[in-house]
Symmetry: D2
Subunit: 325 residues, 4 copies
């Protein structure tokens, strides 16, 4: 079960609007303060670049859809975005190929299996089940426009930067390390290819996918990205249009269904809003129409989700009445 | 993929409140009118009592949390509630044993497998994954209070009637027929027992479960039940308290995760609100804080969901801005 | 991996005949002596009647197809036959319904899964894969002649006694204990029934199956039974015809394929003759045309096979040149 | 079920020796004659080089362990060896690394799944289950000696030629075609690598594996290869030592367990000797101590096994008393 502590924290009811500015500000500061002392979890260590992360870093940021920012702690610390990027490439691909095509090509149903399972692919005759597991995420990146790998990466890099409202940089160390450890993703790409589910070169697409996971972001960036998805695709800080409202709706639905892999149901049960976690310790959550939330704290639980991040989100969900249900 | 037709229907945005009375009324009438002519699907025929259902029956009903009722078509036609009952027994059991116990005992994650799979039980060492598949539903019914099978059934019968706001009757034909065809549920109950996951007699609990599925309801009843879940557990028509707000939140979360079995993700992607379907042709959907929706039309698609029911809900979701995402 | 010790034991080549009487006699005495001191393994304890078995008991018996008997150790100690009975009921059912029907109804392929898996049933749409796992064994017992449960049991009891060459007795303690712990077998029988793969009452057939597993045998009995299968269905001690040569061939083939569940391949790789183990510590092995072997020693390895039994068989296989390959 | 026709063909009993020369000769001619008219099956067409095979070609060859050859039909027609090569590389690797290492590294148990399943790998934490499915075969080829891909191929090419007793040639067309269609094998190799189960470069090893499958052989070659395995590793035609007796025993055991993928049990049930089929229409079978059998006929059944080949072997098994059980 999720390790959260909301004993005595009253669950407020979801309404059409967020509470007033000072209530949100206070909640963000409280969330950071109460969970700063939470221990437990271990920093991901399968590549050196991740293992070196400072376990003490902890940032919480809420960006409202009107552009207001609430920040506490290390919201400017940079880390590689990892799996959180799956959400954004899905929004982009959804925008590019449309609601029906993305649903047919990538799938929208939960696998009930872990993020890097190949079993789910075989049981479904080569169809990926959803874009939040590696197989679906790689197939999603392959749907992005671009005549070759470089173009595809450029387009993707630009778009992810527009989501953040600033130029994101590639973490070369992470990219190199990941490249040396991506045999399983290459197996997945080859398997998709063998089922005729990949129109592009599998090696190139795994490379683009590895790059997208290696972009450096902050908790603040995640919150801005989330607020963009909450706001129908317009970045509320830069006012720049990034994706269509339809793409945002589709993206939030798949996040709700499978944003936390086999723990997705538990997340919805405890927190009640779409979310997506990454192995570097970031979590992006979205309160539709209201706000984006970004949290960062490297120690992960055994399911690979940030310990403090989940606890902070569980607290915010209750005191701000974010739970959709 | 789901067979829906929303070409040209504009997706309105979810806000804090439903549109005004006449807009909702008009949408309900429109949904009924446009989908009346939808063909396709076949009536469930595994027991005679279901096979005899009139495929032409079609009712759509919305009950707002302030008690207002919008109805079109055959909203008073009775049918057995079937799997829709899983939602209500889960709310009751959740109320009875509490948030943490229900999560631990029944599970909240999607299986990615069909409603009567035994494979998911074995792969999880006897743990049921969620209360919307038969294994979890049977285990949920077993958590209800009552010293013996009769007491358990009485308590359950009363509570489901309170959800509907009227005394529900048992369909004896359906109950008898189902009893003759419940070998698989008995296999599931025995399997749960063999894993030590059932504290009560497996034969008795399958009998209570079969009875709960055989209660007669109408589309209007489903809408009232849904409105009760939408309203924090208070029946907005009778003003009677049925379950706690916490139990409602928990129930809506698991409906969102797995209310339509292996198609749950697709449902959330297209319709965007918690829903639960039954093999007799009913669907109960909930717009948190706003309304309950009940639809009834016997012909089912290959996934066992009402064809007209899904189409009507997809239409209502768009024109009334019900999609949570 | 199997825990055997054949370091330095020369593998002789399989020929058309067994070595001379004194070589076999010496090998049996040697096998008993060298493995008497083998430790490790634990006595099955899921029912009291099994848990009370004396872990020190150890018997090795070879019965040649000309009726000669070689015995060492506790070859007259009685124990419940358990899963070894699957082999004999398969031979009987095969005789009763014929080669083609038994192949179609019960299956002959390995599941690659454990003995009481329900997953394999579901993955194969209700077809059992082979008669050596519980599902297939229960379906096999259901194919035996007999107008009702009592007749079926009487016929079965008689036939198993003919295999042994003496009247076998039911172990009432084991039968009662097993009856209290057979929820999983009842789940399996219900599941088969739900797929329409069982023509008889599931409760009755599980009862007959439980009885067949509770018959008391000795290591000598197992060897005689094995010699009967090796000898084309004629008991070489009583000269009584038990089953047809065709039924024996079919039975030895399925033993080779799946007699030791998911370890069947390993057994064939190390020992190279058809075998079948039971949870009480017995193993029956067959050298086609030459001999039957029965061993008994209660401590089991983690796969549920007798530790000393496997070691003794590995030794005999090598020194007597029994390996078919 | 297997499509064989042995109505009225009497099953002779397996003895220590084959029948006399003229009986074997007559049986081979009969087998060819009776099955020449068998229709059904389709030639593999996933690569052009296979699709062009003449469906009318049909050869049957038995080579006794004393070197006598019985041949009927197109026993000199060449075809690519395909999966039959798995048997020979396993014998070589077994010889190279020894009984215990090969058992631990490659596995010996049946998967119960199809030849190119990746699911079995995942369910077993990266362990391959046996050398007759692609995953295990690729891992087996990786165990062969050789400092680099070229050396490995040279050693392998030489050894397979020694098995046949003549220099085998690479079919360049088949090799090129297969190379263009081996995404799934590359996925499997990457997956093995990701589990740390492959010590060599996955691309190189898939290339060597593709080459080994592309060697040209005849039905006569298969029979000689089989006779070499039957004869403890000495080629009875050239009298050349190819592998050790221990390696032969190990190889025949795994052929018996899983030589025909998920139909292995059925094969053992009907034919009763170790066999291995290939997608080009060849089957190699071994009668331990007595003979090797090679058949060739391109039309395959839905399980990918030669239709006429299986029928001819079922006939030979019965009239010559080859069934080990």
């Amino acid at each position: 079960m999720m390790d959260i502590d909301v004993e005595g924290v009253e669950q407020r009811v979801f309404t059409g609007v967020l509470p007033a500015w000072d209530r949100v500000e206070e909640a963000v500061q409280d969330a950071h303060r109460r969970e700063s002392s939470a221990t437990g979890g271990t920093v991901a260590d399968y590549i050196p670049a991740l293992a070196e992360a400072d376990p003490g870093l902890f940032g919480v940021c809420v960006v409202e859809t009107d552009g207001q920012v609430h920040a506490a702690g290390d919201v400017e610390a940079e880390f590689s975005i990892q799996s959180v990027s799956k959400v954004l490439t899905y929004a982009l691909a959804s925008d590019a190929v449309g609601h029906d095509v993305i649903a047919e090509r990538i799938g929208v149903n939960s696998t009930g299996q872990s993020f890097d399972s190949v079993m789910a692919i075989e049981l479904n005759g080569g169809h990926t089940m959803n874009p939040m597991v590696n197989a679906g995420a790689i197939a999603t990146t392959a749907l992005l426009p671009g005549g070759n790998a470089d173009e595809r990466w450029e387009i993707l890099h630009d778009a992810l930067s527009r989501f953040a409202g600033r130029r994101l940089e590639l973490d070369e160390d992470v990219y190199r390390s990941e490249t040396e450890h991506n045999q399983r993703n290459m197996a997945i790409a080859r398997l998709l290819e063998s089922y005729g589910r990949l129109d592009v070169d599998p090696l190139e697409i795994v490379d683009v996918y590895t790059k997208q996971c290696s972009l450096r972001v902050t908790a603040r960036d995640l919150a801005v990205m989330g607020a963009t998805l909450a706001d129908g695709g317009v970045n509320p800080v830069t006012d720049q249009h990034v994706v269509s409202p339809e793409a945002c709706t589709a993206t939030l639905a798949v996040m709700a269904t499978s944003g936390l892999y086999e723990r997705s149901g538990e997340w919805l049960f405890e927190i009640g809003i779409p979310g997506k976690s990454g192995v570097s310790g970031g979590i992006l959550a979205v309160v539709p129409g209201k706000a984006g939330i970004g949290v960062y704290s490297p120690p992960l639980d055994d399911a690979g989700n940030s310990v403090r991040g989940q606890r902070a989100l569980a607290y915010l969900s209750r005191v701000l009445g974010l739970n959709l249900f």
